[in-house]
């Protein structure tokens, strides 16, 4: 029994003022108090034990958390570094894609400039000959012939201007294409732009691969007119779609040529259609290549997605195209039937300000 309770019990036992009965009552009460005390002490002891364990656990947890925090910090640093690396790699790749498409262009450009320059030279030379002849006819007094020659010379001078401007346009297009900073929006004749890039893409691929050949099918809607766009950006999109279309149809041709059945009658064909709709303009590039399987069509606009062998594809063409079209508040959509071909449709909004032009 608790010492203090024992002391009280002893005092009560020795006391003569209490009756035996009262002593028994106090005795029992004290015993009960002692029992309660023992239980309380036991409970307290148990609570203390729990407290100690909890404290230990807490300490352990805190330590663990601290370790984790340090690890996270480290991971964060690493992640930031990776992100920076990724950003710079991406910038490099975007530039590489630009340069690759420029490379595709340069060969086409060389070819495209040669023809107009030849015309400029030829029509100049021939005009000089014609004028010499005209002098002769003047002396002969043959006014009819003089008139005929003069008209030819006028026509030739118009052709010289036309082909000179053609060469000029091609060079301007090339310079704009290679420029890194994004250009300004300007009112641009969509059909002219499309046709220019189509020819560049075609001759570019042709000069890289001599066996390359495809039919071109162009359907330009004359009512399309001008649209306020960044011409070199939209040009880049068109170049990309056309390059992809040529690639796809040419791959199919190569595949069929491998077969013994002699199915090599296949003629790769790429069609470009422009169309004016109510409030937007559509530019559609379609090919008769092998199409895009259903399970990957959702991925083609993702950066770096490519099914082409290394060195032949960056997987950035469509993703850049998507960004450019979105920046113009337009849409880029793909439809494809496996084995039949693919069509990619650019649609650009016509704003009121464009309508009045």
């Amino acid at each position: 029994m608790n010492q203090n309770l024992q002391h009280i019990l002893d005092l009560i036992n020795e006391s003569s003022k209490l009756s035996e009965d009262d002593k028994t009552i106090v005795h029992n009460a004290l015993k009960k108090a002692d029992k309660d005390l023992v239980i309380s002490e036991f409970k307290l002891e148990r609570t203390n034990k729990v407290k100690r364990t909890t404290a230990i656990l807490l300490e352990e947890t805190i330590e663990e958390l601290e370790q984790k925090q340090a690890a996270i910090k480290q991971t964060n640093i690493a992640l930031n570094k990776s992100l920076e690396d990724l950003k710079s790699t991406q910038a490099q790749l975007v530039q590489a894609e630009k340069m690759a498409s420029l490379g595709e262009l340069t060969a086409g450009i060389a070819h495209e400039i040669q023809n107009p320059l030849n015309f400029v030279n030829n029509f100049s030379e021939v005009s000089k000959e014609l004028l010499e002849e005209m002098l002769e006819e003047l002396q002969n007094g043959d006014t009819e012939e003089v008139n005929a020659i003069a008209n030819d010379v006028i026509q030739n001078l118009e052709k010289i201007v036309h082909h000179g401007q053609r060469a000029d346009g091609i060079i301007k297009g090339m310079l704009q294409h290679s420029r890194t900073n994004s250009g300004e929006k300007e009112a641009t004749d969509i059909n002219v732009l499309v046709d220019e890039y189509l020819r560049l893409a075609y001759h570019g691929l042709r000069s890289k691969d001599k066996t390359f050949n495809a039919s071109l099918d162009t359907n330009y809607d004359d009512s399309v007119g001008k649209l306020n766009i960044v011409p070199q950006d939209i040009g880049r999109v068109i170049l990309n779609l056309i390059t992809n279309a040529f690639y796809a149809s040419n791959e199919k041709k190569k595949e069929l040529e491998k077969e013994p059945s002699g199915l090599n009658r296949f003629q790769p064909t790429v069609s470009i259609t422009t169309k004016k709709e109510n409030n937007h303009i559509e530019i559609k590039v379609s090919d008769n290549g092998n199409g895009i399987p259903k399970d990957i069509i959702a991925k083609i606009f993702q950066p770096f997605f490519t099914t082409k062998p290394t060195g032949q594809g960056t997987g950035l063409g469509l993703s850049l195209s998507y960004d450019i079209i979105t920046a113009h508040k337009g849409e880029l959509n793909a439809n494809s039937t496996e084995g039949q071909g693919t069509e990619i449709i650019i649609s650009l909004p016509i704003k009121d300000q464009d309508k009045w032009k």
Binding site: H111, Q114, N118, F123, L130, Y202, H203, R206, K210, S215
Partner: protein, 124 residues
């Protein structure tokens, strides 16, 4: 003899008509024009009974000049037409292919019309 000029550039026609103005006027040379390989084949069918000299560009959309050359040299059993190919300067690959396919003569771009005139009059 007819001379069939095949080139996808429309202005080639005007240019030839002026470069050979005198010869055409005097009836010394007779030109026909086609703006694609496909069109050239069709034209050839309509003038099958006449002697023809073909002057063809190589780089054309659709049927290329080389494909046209191959078809002409294969499909025309009767004395096949004389074919002159116009190749880009320094383009060995196309030159060799055309030679292997049976091209009779070559001109390099830019075409030297004086030389062409001599050749045409001599082959006539």
């Amino acid at each position: 003899m007819k001379i069939l000029v095949v080139d996808d550039e429309q202005d080639v026609k005007v240019l030839f008509q002026q470069r050979f103005r005198k010869e055409i006027k005097k009836g010394e040379l007779d030109f026909v024009f086609a703006f694609s390989g496909e069109e050239a084949i069709k034209t050839l069918e309509t003038i099958a009974h006449e002697a023809v000299l073909i002057l063809s560009d190589i780089n054309m959309p659709g049927m290329s000049g080389l494909q046209l050359l191959e078809i002409i040299k294969k499909d025309y059993v009767a004395p096949p037409p004389v074919v002159m190919m116009v190749t880009a300067y320094g383009d060995e690959e196309n030159f060799n292919t055309a030679k292997a396919l049976g091209a009779d003569d070559f001109l390099t771009k830019p075409v030297d019309f004086k030389l062409l005139k001599e050749k045409l009059i001599q082959k006539k």
